[in-house]
């Protein structure tokens, strides 16, 4: 079990926001989670806890299992072994989850993809409204009002009646964030949300994510943006070969990594 969530974060001025819920039970707990693809071990017995309000960045080289781990949390990938707890729902990898369990899990967990995956045949407003109507059972008017609010929060109120193809990549990703938030999840997963964007467009997405973190959203972010990881997250997990090699408060880990593997990764990324 990881107990890093309870360790004191850096409190230097301008540093990452301190974790406020040090005594709260973890919102997400992964125990011995593994995922294989044939002979390839993508995720290898990962233990991890995330507390409410915490922002966790997952970094590491390509193919280290970061995305797979993230996708196991909402069962887009079904792990072969281990246990995943989100709030009061607990799924054992050994038994296939029922539709009802999967539904509860996915209502709690919002997800943002690297490639946005907006629905191209629906307008921006319909993209954000669809799940509210189908999953939350809201009527059209309520759903659209809420969607308009969410679009305003991500700065895209004027795009409501456009199709996604008419929006830039950065705008599409902000719409995808609004779409995931529409189900009022208790945690948001971000799978390399800025990797397919040029730096300028990536920045507008990171700004929205920073606001979300400030508002207290629990977030797990797989990212290659080291500065963002250091700035916004309060903890960082470093993965390599499907395992967690280091886990600690962001600033401390980024500046004084304890593991050789972390040092190697950080120097490779930062000296590019």
């Amino acid at each position: 079990m990881s107990d890093h969530a309870d360790s004191a974060p850096s409190t230097a001025a301008g540093g990452p926001r301190p974790i406020r819920h040090t005594n709260a039970a973890p919102l997400i707990r992964l125990e011995g989670v593994s995922k294989h693809y044939g002979d390839l071990v993508a995720v290898d017995g990962v233990d991890l806890s995330v507390h409410p309000g915490q922002v966790l960045a997952v970094i590491g080289p390509s193919g280290s299992g970061k995305s797979t781990l993230l996708r196991c949390i909402n069962y887009l990938e079904r792990p072969e072994s281990g246990r995943i707890t989100v709030g009061d729902i607990r799924l054992d990898a050994g038994t296939p989850p029922s539709r009802a369990e999967l539904s509860v899990l996915r209502r709690r967990v919002g997800m943002v993809f690297q490639s946005f995956n907006l629905f191209p045949h629906l307008t921006v407003l319909q993209n954000v409204s669809l799940a509210q109507r189908r999953v939350l059972g809201r009527n059209r008017e309520d759903a659209e009002r809420r969607s308009a609010d969410l679009l305003a929060t991500v700065g895209l109120a004027d795009k409501a009646h456009q199709y996604p193809s008419r929006c830039s990549g950065g705008q599409q990703q902000r719409i995808a964030i609004a779409r995931a938030l529409a189900l009022e999840p208790s945690v948001m997963l971000f799978d390399e949300p800025t990797s397919s964007l040029d730096p300028e467009l990536g920045l507008e997405v990171l700004t929205v994510m920073r606001d979300l973190a400030k508002a207290g959203m629990t977030m797990i972010i797989v990212t290659h943006e080291m500065h963002f990881a250091e700035d916004v997250s309060n903890e960082v997990v470093v993965m390599a070969n499907g395992r967690i090699v280091e886990h600690g408060p962001s600033r401390e880990l980024m500046r004084n990594p304890k593991q050789e593997r972390t040092r190697r990764f950080l120097s490779a990324v930062l000296n590019r």
């Binding site: 996915r106 191209p120 193809s165």
Partner: protein, 213 residues
Amino acid sequence: MWSYPAFLVSGLPWTLSVTAGAFAIGALIGLPVMLAEESTFAPLRLIARTYVNLVRAVPPIVWLFIVYFGVGSDLLRLTPFGAAVIGLGLISSAHLAEIYRGGMISVGKGQREAASALNLGPVYGFIDVMAPQAVRVALPPSAGYAIGLLKDSAISSAIGVPELTERANEAAQATLTGLPVYVALAAIYILMSVPVAWLARAVDTRLRAKVAR
């Protein structure tokens, strides 16, 4: 003397009815066949794939003989028209299931994952996300198939449906002049195919313009 052009044209409603009826059956049954082919339940998948392969492995005219002379005379009372619609309908269902499947595959994994992550579930995931996008891809080949079916409906002349080709055969025998009759027949098929192709292209262009990807 009787005028063969009018006689020939009297087969037109039959040709159109056989085509429309068979296409409607195929479009309807093709959907569950495609869903079964994509099912996670292996026995269902096996049954659906066997059905599709079996239907496509036998010449359409043989199916019509099986339906009309086999099933029709022994088990059910079927008119030639009924047998043609059912036989060509089942054949269409196998081909349209494959066309639908191609449409579904074209939609891409990301869309399916987004629907799952949003907890839409398999039913709404299909209705709201997959199907509308798959239809756009499946539409042109479906229209192409409808044109093919219009031409293939000619084989229902073999079981005595009084459609265009059957009428042409009769007219040719009665007038003892094959060439003008069959050229007229060919012209009628061409005149019917062109508007369908044109309509399909117009609808396709409209859908594409709406969502330029």
